[in-house]
Symmetry: C2
Subunit: 388 residues, 2 copies
């Protein structure tokens, strides 16, 4: 922990099979009008919608519907949500869904009382909120993004072929989040494994950077091992509550700023994956999976000590009689083998990308410099070709 | 993570060699009168006192001195601190020191505006705060107790031969804590290793309980490995900033509620150690060290799977060709070997206890039921005799 840093995360988490009841403790803290944010209506099929409406009504709230939040929420939808909040004088933005709904709620929260266009202000000019922020609460129905306990909000602009994340400060983090592992069980298996890979990659993005022997690295390895362990149970039996609950809890801690304290971070897999997502609208976790192995194999020669540690500490690779490079490569082989067990996408072709789109995806890829090798455009094109 | 639980920890942490300057960001949030809490005056020798006074004055604060907080703060001192706060209308309790000062500040914070005697209310009747709580901030100069990011406050009553901890809720946690690893470097080595063992035992107390394969267990193992790794560097070179900073950060996360989420906990080593402390006034971490091995050897037969996991995951014991019991015992042998490296107390005799005090220590030992074996009084006496 060599540098100076702050840690502040005040989101109150209610976790467990009975956690929805705690909405009754939170609602009285906020004003009368609740903007209920959700996606395509799956919460109406599985009964969560009815449960929440009943609790909102019992607490005397006026409910303003804001549905149709898509898996990759768009700038147009964001503008629509801001309009709804302004017209109804929303007091609380209550997101019910996965990371998309939570992200969207946060993006709305910082835009309601600002005059500027939110896309331009936060995703082009990367400004910080300069107006009152509407409080956000989340009821999580999918484990993956960690959005329930961080300030991140990814928004997609299809016209501009851009999918950009803005990580806001602690004042934008949800005031509370309700995490009920049972709510995640109605997800199709493909969505579950995409979420699991998203969690795992969040940890990798923070782990594969820097050189110091850091508490954050040990914590990252712990979360990786917990996710691997529980994912193997959940893939065989998605109804295993214990496995699903550990995955859900790990997801939150994988991206609530803890494991990045005192160290550098990478985030290039997300830059590549988000560029693929901007062009294909494919599921976020799948885009990350599809570019991960080509990317990590590309940077491995520049970060052998960490990739070796990854192999021995996370995957139990026995280093005896092997070169560091061999051990490091065995770690990535173990990662690939686990990804095949999960059934995540191992190439971008199956996500709708093809060779003719490579240049456009490269154009949409933001280059960061925290990883073991700074990519240039030619390297991005090379990695994307390897990902086809 | 089988049960229902909440997690809420809003303490803002400023970490690093330059972190004291952030006091300038926090002070304007509170009123004019700052009660400056510290111990025996070591902060006057190492310059921290002068630095803090300068910052308080630059922020226009009225400073009320509250010094002489002893390593095991007493009920009498607590009553004195409450009197100071009442007479001066304290707006912020600023603790500068180790866990004793932070604990004491929290105990004062919940007592200033309550009429009852604080020892009776919180440590005999175990009531919750029923009055306004004065905000607390900490500037930490010793890594160990985790008091900087939790609601715990241990107070000793020498007349009653009692040393009791009250774990208050999140509203009592410090509003901010400043963690500067350099401040911990002026500590004598004996205090450093006592703090290190305190950290390690906090993790053990939460780890050696329950049977589920839980994210919290993986995180506990990560913190243990980080502490072991960095302690070996720090014992050889106490000036190693990297090692001291990782120890400090691990201490905070070892006892800020994270690694106990979704699982049972033990805490019997603390009950035994605190009873030893109540009778001898010995250093907290040393009392824990002195009773740990006899206690863990006593309960091991009832928790073999977890002690085996401890051996293989934390200490790298090779289980090949061994019974589970043998592996488990090798884990405790590895723990003992590391404790000898640190140089912590391995018996209570050197802390001032003797056979004639065993019954009195047993009388002062609170029996909990979260561990792998519920102790009765005879077991406590047996463990204490083994600890002589």
């Amino acid at each position: 922990m060599l540098g100076n840093f702050t840690y502040h995360n005040a989101t109150k988490l209610y976790f467990g099979a009975d956690s929805l009841q705690y909405l009754n403790e939170e609602l009285p803290k906020y004003g009368k009008t609740v903007q209920l944010i959700y996606g395509g209506g799956s919460i109406k099929k599985n009964g969560i919608y009815d449960e929440i409406i009943a609790i909102l009504k019992a607490n005397g709230k006026t409910i303003v519907e804001d549905s149709g939040v898509m898996p990759n929420p768009t700038a147009d939808k964001l503008r629509e949500g801001v309009k709804i909040a302004r017209e109804n004088h929303t007091d609380l933005l209550l997101a019910v869904g996965g990371g998309s709904c939570c992200d969207y709620a946060k993006a709305v929260s910082v835009s309601v009382h600002c005059e500027d266009d939110p896309w331009d202000k936060y995703y082009i000019r990367f400004e910080e909120p300069s107006c009152e922020i509407v409080p956000v609460g989340c009821v999580l129905t999918m484990a993956g993004t960690g959005s329930e306990m961080n300030g991140g909000a990814v928004i997609t602009n299809h016209e501009a072929h851009l999918k950009i994340g803005h990580v806001f400060g602690d004042e934008v983090m949800p005031k509370f989040s309700i995490l009920n592992p049972k709510f995640t069980m109605s997800l199709p298996k493909r969505q579950m494994v995409a979420g699991i890979y998203d969690i795992f990659n969040h940890i990798c993005e923070q782990y594969f950077s820097g050189e110091d022997d850091n508490t954050s690295d040990y914590l990252a390895e712990a979360l990786m091992k917990s996710v691997i362990h529980s994912s193997r149970i959940a893939v065989k039996n998605p109804e295993d509550y214990q496995a699903r609950s550990n995955i859900m809890w790990s997801a939150t801690w994988a991206l609530n700023t803890l494991i990045s304290r005192g160290k550098e971070t990478d985030w290039m897999v997300h830059m590549l994956g988000q560029a693929v997502g901007a062009l294909t609208d494919a599921t976020h976790g799948m885009t990350l999976a599809a570019v991960s192995l080509p990317y990590y194999r590309y940077i491995l020669p520049y970060g052998i000590p960490k990739f070796k540690r990854f192999a021995t500490e996370v995957w139990g690779v026995d280093p005896a009689g092997k070169t560091d490079l061999q051990v490091a490569e065995e770690g990535l082989a173990a990662l690939e083998s686990w990804m095949r067990e999960l059934g995540v996408s191992l190439n971008i072709s199956e996500l709708g990308a093809n060779e003719s789109m490579i240049e456009a995806i490269a154009d949409a890829t933001i280059l960061l410099d925290g990883g073991y090798r700074q990519l240039d455009r030619a390297a991005v094109v090379e990695i994307l070709k390897q990902s086809l």
